[in-house]
Subunit: 433 residues, 2 copies
């Protein structure tokens, strides 16, 4: 047996580079804590010259991935090339070769997690992915270990930094959606096609991973009710604030013993006193409710070179410990539960609804009677912000099933006095009544 | 080998009872996750009848601790009797018998941690203590695992629920110190002798444990500069608020490469926007700054039957995994670092100082010249709150060494115009300048 643990790295971009530098900087401490040196030996990437210019001659660089995946000397393969393909295939090959795999690839874990865990199980290898959810925040590890004794009731997370940055800006500076998106794009915080972030799809992938671990069941993207922040505007944040709420894009996963598990991503109003309400800018946070622990929250930087490298190298150290101690498969992927997913229309929660309506007498009565006809009861109304011939009419409902609310909205949409349904925001508060 | 893991429990009080009930309630899930049944077999306590009335006839009860400690069938001993003695001796005996030990005893870990870890190492056993710090919050586990790749720069924690409850009440309701202490005692949140909590000693024990893990060094109680909240009054919280700060009792451990490690417990002003500022009531939180992760915070219930049981049973599950996989000593206690402690007088930070002064001309000038003579530079002054012949004079200094500040205060104390030095609060902000 070698007197060190050999690591092969796929991808030397932002996070890959962070992993290289972190392993170098804290080498002595890492060796002390693990019991053996962790030696990065080979790096796979596209451009040999660029890599050696960036990271020096301590490593062997290759453009042929098999040099890493099939090297019998390599113990741990770290996948940081991103995207689904060929990253997934590379990880499969590494696992089939009996190697430990560490990844920060949320796309692959969200879409092919089950497949990879099965292969890992068959070949007695570990696959670890702390860096795939919320960058530096330790959340997968604590759920699998320190919090493992809990039946988890719910998870609510701010898991997308781009939208949290945008909503924070809208809140603090009253900026409108289009302006803040433009600014985020100019600063490189949002992609030129921002759909994955603002549409809630990135958050949904993280929700899938978190919910799978929390509820011990295999969950897939199609189980998630995904709603983006595109229709939220500065005025909605202002109305919410008047009612005592902050607006956040939340991934919410709940395990209701009767209705089953519901998973959604939606712009959500939460009371300003809730710990999630003050998580701003690039910070992410995951709020967990378990039967023993009660409520706990994990906050940190959701992305970035070194925060993510922190999680990846932490996983490399765990994977190395498992190797050294002959303890691979130590914490398996325990998705043993029968999957019962609550269909979105059976989901029950209060909602905020902003309607643009004609500014004339009798409008409020007409709309209220539609809500009443569909058993949607109202707990707050705000009427302000006149805009020429139309006005904003804001309702906050009591808890209502998504199906009933949808019916009411369908009727409202064709009501002559309603110009349009401008914005719908989920409401989460302690009572939720 | 038995087809289950056998657990013996010492102590069936609040937390012990929680552990019994949690192991019962989530038995199936725990078995699934660990791979073997975890079977609580024997319980040691003082009163056989009371125990069997409370927990039924599934367990063997004993008043003789050796029945548990020396039982060759028992794999894991869970110590929940509290206090230092004989809990420490029981744990030593269990470790010497090769048993895995799980405890929530902060007193023993803070005072005898090194001794116990040495015995555990010698006998190839594990000692786990997630429940000893901040009840349900997973913080020891993440520091040893997910965050293990980080050089930790600093830890700031709200680690005492009683004082956080009191300071929250004083903040929200403007109650004075004596009234809120009385109320906390009446409600059972504070002891009749509240010194351990309000004097900062409980927090100091947790600071010792957290700093030892964070900085990989053996730290003891005498290394901690301990200051309680006794002199903080409603007016101080009000002045702090006007300056944009909240007041919390913080355990602060910093690793300065030049001056060494400083560990203190003090009432501290932190900017209202800091994530710790909004942690209120019975919640605890630990805020970590590491070289890779950046800033991260862990929040949860700092005490209580089930939150603490959550941590204890999580540790039992880890201890069981180590047993099953023949992986004891997996994560050792890595206090390999040479200990260099910064002496309190070399500590440099800004302070808030409230003086009760005679209300006459020239007082401010006299005091300001004393500060100036000791190189204490001032960044804020508030003068208000007249009380007959005396007035409050509040200063916030720039960062200054504790030695210089102490000199200035010694001179002020005997200055004829100064009635008394009413309150001193540490200030922590991003600049700290």
């Amino acid at each position: 047996m070698k007197d060190y643990i050999s690591v092969g790295l796929l991808g030397s971009g932002t996070v890959g580079g962070g992993v290289i530098k972190l392993l170098e900087k804290n080498a002595e401490m890492i060796t002390r804590k693990v019991g053996k040196e962790i030696k990065l030996t080979k790096i796979f990437g596209r451009n040999l010259e660029k890599m050696s210019a960036a990271y020096g001659d301590a490593y062997e660089y290759t453009t042929n991935v098999d040099d890493v995946l099939n090297d019998p000397e390599i113990d741990i393969v770290v996948e940081l090339i991103g995207r689904e393909h060929p990253a997934m295939e590379y990880m499969c090959q590494a696992l089939e070769n009996g190697k430990q795999v560490v990844t920060a690839n949320k796309d692959v874990i969200a879409h092919y997690g089950k497949k990879l865990f099965d292969i890992a199980g068959k070949h007695n290898a570990d696959i670890m992915f702390e860096g795939a959810v919320c960058g530096g925040i330790p959340i997968i590890g604590p759920m699998k270990s320190s919090m493992a004794a809990n039946e988890i009731h719910s998870i609510m997370g701010i898991v997308n930094g781009t939208t949290n940055y945008m909503l924070s800006k809208m809140t603090d500076e009253g900026m409108d959606y289009a302006t803040v998106l433009k600014e985020a794009q100019d600063k490189g915080y949002a992609e030129s096609d921002p759909t994955a972030d603002v549409g809630g799809f990135d958050a949904a992938r993280k929700a899938v991973i978190l919910a799978s671990i929390a509820f011990n069941m295999a969950i897939s993207m199609k189980d998630v009710d995904i709603n983006g922040i595109e229709s939220v505007d500065a005025c909605d944040i202002e109305y919410a604030s008047r009612l005592g709420y902050a607006v956040k894009l939340l991934a919410i996963a709940k395990n209701d013993p009767e209705n089953g598990v519901s998973i959604s991503v939606s712009p959500t109003m939460i009371p300003k006193k809730h710990p999630l309400a003050s998580v701003s800018g690039a910070y992410n946070a995951v709020y967990v409710n378990g039967d023993a622990i009660g409520e706990a929250m994990f906050l940190g930087l959701g992305a970035g070179r070194f925060p993510t490298a922190s999680s990846v190298v932490g996983d490399i150290m765990e994977a190395a410990r498992n190797l050294i101690n002959n303890d691979k498969g130590r914490i398996g992927y325990a998705c043993y539960k029968e999957k019962k997913i609550c269909s979105p229309e059976n989901n029950v929660f209060p909602s905020y609804i902003r309607l643009s309506v004609l500014d004339k007498p009798g409008v409020l009565a007409a709309i209220a009677s539609v809500f009443g006809s569909q058993s949607v009861s109202i707990r707050n109304v705000i009427q302000t912000n006149e805009r020429g011939k139309t006005a904003d009419l804001v309702f906050v409902t009591h808890a209502v099933s998504a199906a009933n609310l949808k019916m009411a909205l369908q009727i409202l949409e064709v009501l002559p006095v309603v110009d349009k349904i401008s914005c719908i925001i989920r409401v989460e508060d302690s009572s939720n009544g």
